[in-house]
């Protein structure tokens, strides 16, 4: 898969992020921007992670927020993971979450901590693909027990296959 180049060089972004972090940290007497950032900021960055991993219009902001909440729940149960997430978020440019989708993806691919991406992916799949609200978009009906399964329905309907006879 090809990725568009990030708008700034990764190095410049890191410098910028560090500068912002230091400024904020000293103003608020906190160790780093993200560790001390308001919970809401962190939540919206985590939601942006979910949106960057699975950028489909069908997924709602509340689904991405649910994914972020799952990430937070795992962090709450695991201080080491929480610290890792703090560090990994601090390593991203400060305005990463606000960037356009292609930039977010490109930056995440080059600067994203694999452990952060893993946590985000593990947390996002359920709230995104398991939500019945999006199933019609994927033409997926979900449970079949209400209509008695597929036994009495056409189980073979492949009109397109005729056209591909060789």
């Amino acid at each position: 898969m090809t990725q568009p180049a990030p708008a700034f060089s990764p190095q410049r972004r890191r410098l910028l992020a560090a500068a912002v972090a230091t400024a904020l940290g000293s103003a608020l007497h906190l160790p780093s921007a993200f560790a001390g950032a308001p919970r809401a900021a962190r939540a919206s960055t985590l939601a942006a992670l979910s949106r960057t991993l699975f950028p489909l219009a069908v997924f709602s902001e509340s689904q991405h927020a649910a994914a972020a909440a799952k990430m937070e729940a795992r962090c709450a149960a695991d201080p080491a993971l929480n610290a890792l997430v703090d560090r990994a978020l601090a390593a991203l440019p400060a305005d990463w979450a606000d960037g356009p989708a292609a930039t977010r993806e490109a930056v995440l691919r080059t600067q994203g901590d694999p452990a952060l991406i893993k946590l985000a992916r593990q947390s996002a799949v359920g709230p995104l693909f398991g939500d019945p609200a999006v199933w019609p978009h994927f033409d997926y009906p979900g449970p079949s027990i209400a209509f008695g399964g597929y036994l009495d329905r056409p189980l073979v309907d492949l009109p397109w296959l005729e056209a591909h006879a060789t």
Partner: protein
């Protein structure tokens, strides 16, 4: 009715695990009038048509440590529940071939492998295979109709026929194509992996445990996790220690102990049962417990077709291409493999198809879900002595016991087989117009075999042809751990077959006071 036996009742046989092996063994022993206490670490599962929810509640999630080629986040996917992994299984019910019991003779001593022949042959097992197939209600056998065709199976089958494959069918599934054994006909609901809510799929939970309970000779204790097996000065097993649902340790005495805890927990339990007499673990005088871990090889062939397939409909694995189960060294590897169609529900699709992938291009492909056809490759892997289950030095489980450390590195033969299978699998779908084919090898395993294997020579394995351990006369291995080698077909029919045979033998010995 669940009977109750006293903890000090030393006439009972203790069966550890209530899955394919333990459930069948319990049903067969109790049918012969033998009193059985089955200790099951898991609880009775709540089934619903929601695969991630059932997986989340029911899978074995105690920690394990991992070394080698498997996915460290999810190396193994098996159950901790009454009924064991049969709750999740998709019911492909196929016999091993005669040469699968003569692996060393057939393949020769391939470098780096620890191949042996089984101490029993196909003809010995054949009548028990027939009995197991009938018991499980296998479709397309013994007068039972085939499962009906469905899209996902047809795409695979038509593609395979166009490519010249000959052994193309709907296979044999242990789902009821007609009512059988007090359970209803399969409604082609398509949720086999989350547990069949109507009980049309054979599971130990819905078929064997009730059968055992009906005899009046059976007690199931759920949420009872065995932590050690105990023995006397003479080296005979006397009972087990388990942690009950309240977290308290209990000692159940026993006349014989049969271990059917699936191929990882079975050797772990023996390794944890160390003593002065067995310093390296029970029945481990030859140092064979935990070694030769085979998992079968699992591959994914996912194809983007020109129109809708709706692969989630109907029985998960309808559609079988079995030409390659033969041993044919001209393909460049030993052993064989097969293709089965494999339905995958949307909520688990991103994890089961393509763990780890993400991004805009990937998400666009995900939107093609309705047009995706999907098949699995199941192939034989080679036994390697250092692919093994050991005890983790540092990590302990909730009961303070060392967790299993898993080491699995694929042998060159395994990789050659999988490469061949995936390339040809792609061609099958190209033959029916696939626009894109995505192939990969799964690094999460679902079959665990060989870790307490049967051997003629006690130096080569852990148990004999009846699953009785070489070192301890009243200790039996009753699950896939006893397989001497894996095969191109999945293992459960053979696990059930061996359990029936073991039960008959053990009951005979017990009745004759010969044990």
């Amino acid at each position: 009715m669940n009977k109750h036996f006293d903890l000090n009742d030393d006439r009972v046989v203790v069966v550890i695990g209530s899955g394919a092996g333990g459930g069948t063994l319990s049903a067969e022993l109790t049918a012969q009038g033998i009193d059985v206490v089955c200790l099951e670490a898991g609880a009775t599962p709540l089934l619903e048509q929601n695969v991630p929810a059932v997986y989340g509640r029911t899978r074995w999630s105690d920690p394990r440590t991992v070394e080698g080629d498997l996915n460290p986040d999810m190396p193994v996917m098996i159950a901790k529940a009454v009924g064991g992994t049969t709750v999740f299984w998709t019911a492909v019910t196929l016999r091993r071939q005669p040469h699968d019991f003569r692996s060393l003779t057939t393949y020769g001593a391939l470098p780096g492998t620890s191949l042996i022949d089984w101490p029993l042959d196909y003809d010995t097992l054949a009548p028990f295979y027939a009995e197991a197939e009938q018991r499980m209600g296998a479709s397309g056998l013994h007068g039972k109709p085939d499962v009906p065709d469905h899209n996902n199976g047809e795409v695979l089958k038509i593609g395979a026929r166009r490519r010249g494959y000959k052994h193309v069918s709907n296979g044999h599934l242990s789902v009821n194509t007609v009512p059988h054994d007090g359970r209803p006909q399969c409604r082609q609901m398509g949720f086999c992996t989350g547990g069949c809510v109507i009980g049309a799929k054979w599971t130990s939970l819905q078929a064997e445990i009730p059968r055992a309970q009906a005899t009046g000779h059976f007690e199931l204790r759920e949420q009872a996790q065995v932590v050690t097996i105990e023995h006397d000065a003479g080296g005979r097993v006397t009972g087990v220690v388990y942690v009950d649902a309240k977290g308290e340790r209990q000692r159940q005495r026993a006349r014989a102990v049969c271990v059917a805890a699936n191929g990882i927990e079975t050797p772990r339990l023996l390794l944890m049962s160390q003593s002065g007499r067995f310093p390296h673990g029970l029945a481990n005088d030859a140092g064979q417990v935990g070694r030769h871990w085979m998992t079968d090889l699992l591959g994914r062939v996912i194809a983007l077709m020109p129109g809708p397939v709706h692969n989630y409909r109907g029985t998960t694995n309808t559609g079988l291409v079995a030409d390659d189960i033969r041993h044919d060294p001209s393909r460049g590897f030993a052993g064989g493999f097969l293709y089965v169609s494999r339905g995958i529900h949307l909520p688990v699709w991103p994890n089961e198809w393509s763990p780890g992938e993400w991004g805009a291009d990937y998400a666009k492909i995900m939107e093609q879900y309705p047009n995706m056809a999907s098949a699995a490759v199941i192939g034989e892997d080679m036994p390697v002595a250092d692919n093994r289950i050991t005890l983790a030095a540092e990590v302990k489980d909730a009961h303070g016991m060392p967790v299993a450390h898993l080491t699995k590195r694929y042998h060159a033969n395994d990789l050659a087989l999988m490469d061949h299978a995936l390339k040809n699998g792609e061609e099958i779908y190209r033959a029916v117009g696939a626009q894109q084919v995505y192939t990969s090898m799964s690094r999460t395993v679902i079959h665990n075999l060989g870790t307490c294997r049967q051997s003629r020579d006690p130096a080569d394995g852990v148990c004999d042809a009846f699953g009785r351990t070489h070192d301890v006369p009243n200790l039996f291995i009753s699950d896939g751990s006893q397989f001497s080698t894996s095969a191109a077909v999945p293992p459960t029919l053979t696990i059930v077959t061996l359990a029936i045979r073991q039960a008959r033998h053990l009951a005979g010995q017990l009745k004759a006071n010969a044990l």
